[in-house]
């Protein structure tokens, strides 16, 4: 077992030397803005190059949607260490906001869309005050409870159309949604990437690593947690706000979808949580797989999702980006003298990060 493992690792090293992986990751880190720009250009030019409204555009739009959701989850779950099972609550709140405003109040979609984000933001502030006081199991279950309670409320109210939901017929074109979801995603990636090198981002990571210590260092962790939670809710709310019209239909089951909540966690984990690119890569990858399964074996995609979650968690909980980073740092370790120099190099290694 161990020898064959060593052999395969050796073979892998010669094909893909850790050093070049390291260099590649560094380059990505240093040129984040440029990469984001190139990605944006590529995505913007797709429809211009002949991608027409239809199946493929819908699938790609959904990829953007899931990338937004996974990245939002990661702001709180991956960066701050508060894994929420209730993020979809804000998605539903946003979705119902635009649905009600455009249908019952005849508001223009752009206004309703902005209000959807705002409503999600405000509800996050209220809910956050309560649930962010909890930790670990309690936080996870309380957020799940919030999701289910929100679902039941929307099922019982008249204005939400009850259990049968709302059908929305006057919607913008598929292309408009393609650009809208793309824009939200790009803005969110920019914000998260920018924050990751600011004091705010570092404090979030400090809360994840040791909240007591962060408090002891004088940070008002409640303020930071709530801000991160609200930021996540804002983007989730935008995504939901656009989704109800994109989908032309909204009901409690789709708006507050517990399975989606797990799906976006799986995406963030698969790609590598706590990073900017990880959740986005994970969302694109997993959604492609789920879409393929759905077109060949309808109904099995959620079975696959459950399996994917289990395999990810047991197999490689650090995700794609995390595993790559680990692999890249293997060489770094030996360059600095391996085990013998481990103690002496501690300071330098940690400052490298």
């Amino acid at each position: 077992m161990s020898t064959s493992d060593e052999d395969s690792r050796g073979a892998l090293r010669s094909i893909l030397p850790p050093e070049s992986v390291d260099r590649f990751l560094d380059a990505c880190n240093d040129h984040g803005w440029q990469l984001l720009g190139v990605g944006t250009l590529a995505a913007v030019s797709l429809p211009l190059l002949g991608l027409e409204a239809g199946y493929f555009m819908t699938v790609i739009t959904e990829m953007f949607l899931f990338a937004i959701l996974a990245l939002s989850w990661d702001i709180v779950g991956g960066q701050t260490g508060y894994p929420s099972f209730g993020n979809m609550a804000f998605f539903g709140i946003g979705a119902y906001t635009t649905a009600i405003l455009t249908k019952d109040f005849a508001l223009a979609f752009p206004v309703a869309f902005l209000l959807a984000g705002l409503v999600a933001l405000v509800s996050a502030a209220v809910i956050g005050v309560v649930v962010l006081r909890l930790r670990g199991h309690y936080f996870a279950i309380a957020t799940l409870g919030v999701l289910l309670a929100a679902q039941q409320v929307s099922r019982n109210l008249d204005i939400t159309g009850g259990a049968s939901g709302k059908i929305l017929l006057q919607t913008p074109s598929g292309e408009a949604f393609y650009y809208l979801f793309l824009a939200v995603l790009i803005v969110e990636m920019g914000v998260v990437y920018y924050l990751s090198s600011t004091r705010f981002g570092f404090v979030l990571n400090a809360i994840r690593d040791d909240e007591e210590k962060a408090t002891a260092m004088g940070f008002n962790t409640t303020y930071y947690k709530t801000a991160a939670w609200m930021l996540a809710a804002l983007f989730t709310g935008f995504a939901g706000g656009a989704y109800s019209l994109f989908n032309t239909f909204i009901d409690p089951q789709t708006a507050y979808n517990g399975a989606w909540n797990v799906e976006l966690i799986a995406m963030a984990l698969l790609g590598g949580s706590g990073t900017v690119a990880g959740p986005v890569i994970g969302a694109f990858g997993l959604h492609t797989i789920i879409e393929i399964v759905e077109s060949y074996a309808v109904g099995w995609q959620l079975v696959l999702l459950g399996g994917a979650v289990i395999v990810t968690v047991i197999g490689f909980p650090n995700g794609l980006v995390g595993t790559l980073r680990e692999y890249a740092s293997e060489m770094e370790y030996y360059k600095h003298g391996g085990m013998a120099a481990a103690n002496a190099d501690d300071a330098e290694v940690s400052s490298d990060e």
Binding site: A149, V262, G299, V303, I310
Partner: protein, 295 residues
């Protein structure tokens, strides 16, 4: 008068919730895992009884005794399922991040649920148990006989678990592992096996309760999550690791839900119990009877 009737109904159903929650609390206490697939064990237990009864009688109908005879089958099947779940999946994430353990069990929950939909369709089903006279009246309060049987059955299952933990060697091993896994291993207890047995026993009880639920309510593949969450509410009510606490918590939750259903509307029960949960978590995180819970 109406209130008394609601409370009686609540107590009758609450005992079932309590028996499910006791297993959930046991896994939480011994293996230190929130088993989000616990509700699926209730679902699988219900289906086991349903299919066994269908196999015997041709349709899911039968006399009370015949139905009661299917319960040991459900218990046995679910013991195996629970044992296997711990051995194959959960044991791999014990000791890692809490969040990962939650995700693995949530993943298992989704997979089981969706496989059940594929196998048995999403339609709700129920077992019909025939009585000559289905309910009786005690002092002006109507008590359906089947609910009374289910109530007694749930209490018996809970009591059996309690006795099992207190009196048997395996039960003592389970308690030892819950107190200190390292020390338990030192005195020669197979910790992995004991944890798997804990999972098996908890799932078995949930499965037995599932059989009763198939009779007095109904079963469908997606029912599990609600029972998991109810168990969580009950355990938080009663305090982690306390069987009497879970029993009282279950009876309390059942009564609250029936009162809400009776005086407001059955559609609001879930929202009310979760609001209650969140208030309780914030105000009294150690539970009403618990000695202390790690946050």
């Amino acid at each position: 008068m109406a209130a008394t009737q609601f409370v009686v109904n609540g107590l009758l159903v609450g005992a079932l919730f309590a028996a499910v929650a006791v297993g959930f609390a046991l896994i939480w206490g011994v293996v230190d895992i929130i088993n989000l697939a616990h509700g699926e064990m209730v679902m699988l237990g219900g289906y086991t009884s349903y299919w066994v009864l269908s196999l015997v009688t041709g349709n899911a109908e039968g006399s009370p005794l015949l139905f009661l005879a299917t319960i040991p089958v459900a218990i046995a099947v679910l013991f195996v399922v629970g044992y296997a779940l711990q051995r194959t999946l959960v044991s791999r994430v014990i000791g890692t991040d809490i969040f990962l353990t939650l995700l693995v069990t949530f993943g298992a929950s989704i997979a089981i649920q969706q496989l059940a939909i594929q196998a048995w369709s999403a339609n709700p089903r129920s077992i019909q148990v025939r009585f000559a006279d289905p309910s009786m009246t005690l002092g002006g309060i109507v008590v359906p006989k089947m609910k009374l049987i289910a109530f007694v059955g749930a209490i018996v299952l809970t009591a059996l678990l309690y006795l099992f933990l207190q009196k048997t060697r395996t039960g003592r091993a389970i308690r030892a592992v819950s107190q200190n896994p390292e020390a338990a291993a030192l005195v020669g207890i197979d910790v992995e096996h004991t944890r798997a047995v804990t999972f098996g026993v908890s799932s078995a009880i949930a499965g037995g309760v599932g059989s009763f639920i198939a009779v007095i309510l109904n079963i469908q593949p997606q029912m599990g999550l609600i029972y998991t969450l109810k168990s969580f509410v009950i355990v938080v009510f009663g305090g982690v690791g306390s069987i009497p606490g879970a029993l009282i918590g279950g009876l309390l939750l059942g009564s609250v839900e029936e009162l809400v259903a009776g005086f407001i509307s059955s559609q609001w029960t879930l929202a009310v119990s979760f609001s209650l949960l969140i208030v309780l978590l914030v105000v009294k995180p150690k539970g009403l009877f618990g000695q202390g819970v790690e946050q």
